[in-house]
């Protein structure tokens, strides 16, 4: 017989971890989904955000979420610079997307080595008063270590959704993803718009990094373990759909959590990716893709 509290807790744990997955996948959804740039270095930007958070938390006692927020403008600028380099050396010269992939592989290794040199190779974590605590809601137990990343992930996704739907720049980014030539005929500069979009994608990595280091200890190579999962979330949600990324992340989170609870965690990834294949067979554009 299925115990109701075990089931409820498994669903809640899935929703919570889904919010975190959404935060990590947002950047991929924007950059890969809207700009067609396969930025496989994105998880390494997330890890960079984690290390900055660790540094500021351990040296100045700053709250991890606050650090994530403070770093967003800096990451936006870094994203701008990376996109400008990519545009200058690859996109402008009409290079094949595969060559762009090589560029991002290079960025990935560069970031990893820089982290090793700057922060060392030891495992690192952050501290905050609320991280060891949990909230008891009757039969459901919610740890702040997962609840806060969920909350921030949902807020970030919602904010970005409204940015794309309601603001001039947001609509311009949606426009450039559909037809950049038409956009340039209307007087807008597609390169500038793409640069802003890429910057936004990387800015989300700073917050995602802060959330990651709240949940798990980090080390420089950790980003590689998340490449598959974040691309899966972005593809399942529908490339370019921020709302889709959140829903897909929560669905995957719940699927993983229920599998881990009832069938063993070893099956979690298999069930998630099986579900992804099933959805793509029925809806090739993903759940919310156009």
């Amino acid at each position: 017989m299925v115990s109701i509290d075990l089931l409820l807790n498994a669903v809640v744990a899935g929703i919570l971890i889904g919010g975190f997955y959404a935060a990590v996948s947002l950047g991929i959804s924007v950059v890969f989904g809207l700009l067609d740039i396969a930025n496989i270095a994105h998880p390494l930007f997330v890890i960079t955000g984690s290390y900055f958070t660790f540094y500021l938390n351990s040296n100045f006692g700053l709250d991890p979420i606050l650090v994530g927020l403070i770093l967003m403008p800096l990451f936006f600028v870094i994203g701008n610079i990376v996109y400008q380099s990519y545009y200058h050396f690859f996109e402008k010269q009409g290079a094949e997307p595969l060559r762009g992939l090589v560029f991002f592989f290079g960025v990935l290794f560069l970031i990893e080595v820089s982290i090793i040199i700057t922060f060392g190779v030891d495992y690192q974590l952050v501290e905050a008063a609320y991280l060891g605590e949990s909230l008891n809601l009757g039969i459901v137990n919610v740890s702040y270590r997962l609840f806060i990343p969920f909350l921030v992930g949902v807020l970030l996704t919602t904010g970005l959704h409204f940015f794309f739907a309601k603001t001039f720049y947001g609509r311009a980014i949606m426009g450039v993803s559909q037809d950049s030539l038409a956009l340039s005929l209307m007087g807008a500069d597609p390169v500038r718009i793409k640069s802003v979009a890429f910057g936004i994608g990387i800015a989300t990595a700073s917050m995602a990094g802060a959330l990651l280091v709240m949940i798990l200890p980090i080390e420089p190579a950790l980003g590689r373990e998340y490449i598959g999962r974040v691309f899966a979330v972005a593809v399942l949600g529908g490339l370019g759909s921020v709302k889709g990324a959140l829903f897909a992340a929560i669905i995957l989170g719940i699927a993983e959590s229920l599998t881990a609870t009832y069938f063993g965690a070893a099956w979690s990834s298999g069930v998630s990716f099986g579900f992804l294949l099933l959805v793509l067979a029925v809806r090739p554009a993903g759940l919310f893709g156009r």
């Binding site: 807790n9 030891d122 495992y123 060891g132 270590r145 997962l146 949940i215």
Partner: protein, 422 residues
């Protein structure tokens, strides 16, 4: 007078030139200056770099210690290290280059089972002595006679590794009855889980949960909750650092408090993780290899740790270095002592010396038995006790990591049952 003086000078010059010629003929002094090259691949980037870099530092400290004292049989030691990037597929090419291009005299392994096994065929093909660093049952299938492994897991690594944990559990009154086993889905952790299953059978514990999780799992609460539903008396975990932290935090958050918890969790020995978990660690019983207890003061260990700790701060490595560094120093120290003991650079003679002698190292006297493992297991079971906070001073002194097993190095008693999460 002038003539006499010139004659003397000519004699002296002639004598010196003759000496140089004769020494050239007999050559030993020329060979004595040739470096003794020891080559290895090591995880300097990738997932195991947190262990690989301190290991490299420890090997370099040994090299400096040896060279300061005149080298090995008059030859200065040179270490050649390549980064295997924690990728087993890189290992065969690295050892091929070390042997064919760098022409090293000896090879030793990188860190961990997954990076030792790929080097075995090439080392076996050249019939070389192979000192290895922290392989768990890596020679079980090869049965290579010149393989020697420094981790003190014992002649039956699968079961010896966790034997102490299960023995301690079986001695408690009332004796615990049920056990949950959880392991990361990768070779090392699965081997520990396999050994735990065998020991469960041996000591009569009923397995009520037996699961594994994929590396990279970010949230362990669903798994830990499923285990809590089974209400086991013992929770045995085989995990890597991210999993170890995730499992401990999840167990605390949902208050999974069996009578004994721990076993094969890698990472709890790392200072950064200890400092983060602090008081939460109290009561956990886990494998360990070295702890700053009075029973573990082997010759040279304190001098080595002092050098390591002063260097580790500069490079931001594990600041205390109790887990791997002493053994990384010891496995090359043992090789050096074996060469000197055998009075030979020949592979077979050195291997025979290692096989037939107990050799003093910074981790104690080591003698090898079946399959090149320690003749007798000295896998420690340690219980973390009396931790009051998160400062490094909580972990750099005696009285915190109490050695419960084996008897010959025991430094305190088990607090049983698990006192609950703090």
């Amino acid at each position: 007078m002038k003539l006499l003086k010139r004659f003397r000078i000519q004699n002296i010059v002639g004598f010196l030139m003759g000496s140089i010629f004769i020494s050239g003929l007999f050559a030993p002094s020329v060979y004595a200056a040739e470096p003794l090259k020891i080559g290895l691949g090591m995880a300097l980037t990738g997932g195991l770099a947190a262990a690989g870099k301190p290991a490299k530092l420890s090997i370099e400290i040994w090299r400096d210690d040896v060279n300061k004292n005149g080298g090995i049989m008059g030859r200065p030691v040179e270490i050649i290290v390549y980064d295997d990037q924690t990728k087993p597929s890189n290992v065969p090419a690295i050892y091929g280059k070390l042997l064919d291009v760098d022409k090293v005299d000896f090879v030793v392994s990188g860190y961990g089972t997954n990076l030792i096994v790929p080097a075995m065929p090439i080392v076996m093909d050249r019939n070389m002595v192979f000192m290895t660093l922290f392989g768990l049952a890596a020679n079980e299938k090869f049965e290579y006679e010149n393989y020697f492994q420094i981790m003190p897991s014992g002649p039956n690594p699968l079961t010896d590794w966790s034997e102490g944990f299960f023995k301690l559990a079986s001695e408690q009154n009332p004796k615990p009855k049920t056990i949950a086993i959880l392991a990361a889905d990768s070779e090392f952790a699965l081997n520990t889980a396999k050994g735990a299953r065998m020991n469960s059978k041996k000591y009569g514990f009923e397995i009520v949960y037996d699961g594994k999780y994929p590396p990279g799992t970010p949230d362990f609460t669903p798994i830990v909750r499923a285990i809590k539903a089974k209400n086991p008396d013992i929770f045995y975990v085989g995990s890597y650092p991210p999993g170890s932290v995730g499992i401990v935090k999840a167990a605390k958050e949902i208050d999974l408090s069996p009578k004994m918890i721990g076993g094969g969790m890698v990472g709890l020995q790392y200072t950064s993780i200890q400092m983060n978990l602090g008081k939460t660690l109290n009561g956990i019983v886990n494998y360990w290899f070295w702890a700053p207890e009075p029973t573990m003061k082997f010759t040279g260990i304190e001098a080595f740790l002092s050098k390591y700790q002063s260097e580790a701060v500069k490079y931001k490595y594990d600041p205390l270095g109790y887990y791997l560094p002493p053994f990384a120093y010891a496995y090359v120290q043992l090789l050096g002592k074996a060469i000197e003991g055998a009075q030979s650079f020949e592979q077979q003679k050195v291997a025979d010396y290692i096989r037939n002698n107990a050799i003093d190292t910074v981790v104690g006297k080591v003698s090898f038995g079946k399959n090149g493992e320690w003749a007798k297991s000295r896998a420690l079971q340690v219980q973390l006790q009396n931790i009051q906070g998160n400062s490094i001073d909580e972990f750099n002194r005696a009285g915190k990591m109490i050695v419960l097993h084996p008897e010959e190095v025991k430094s305190g008693n088990l607090i049983y049952p698990f006192p609950g999460w703090q």
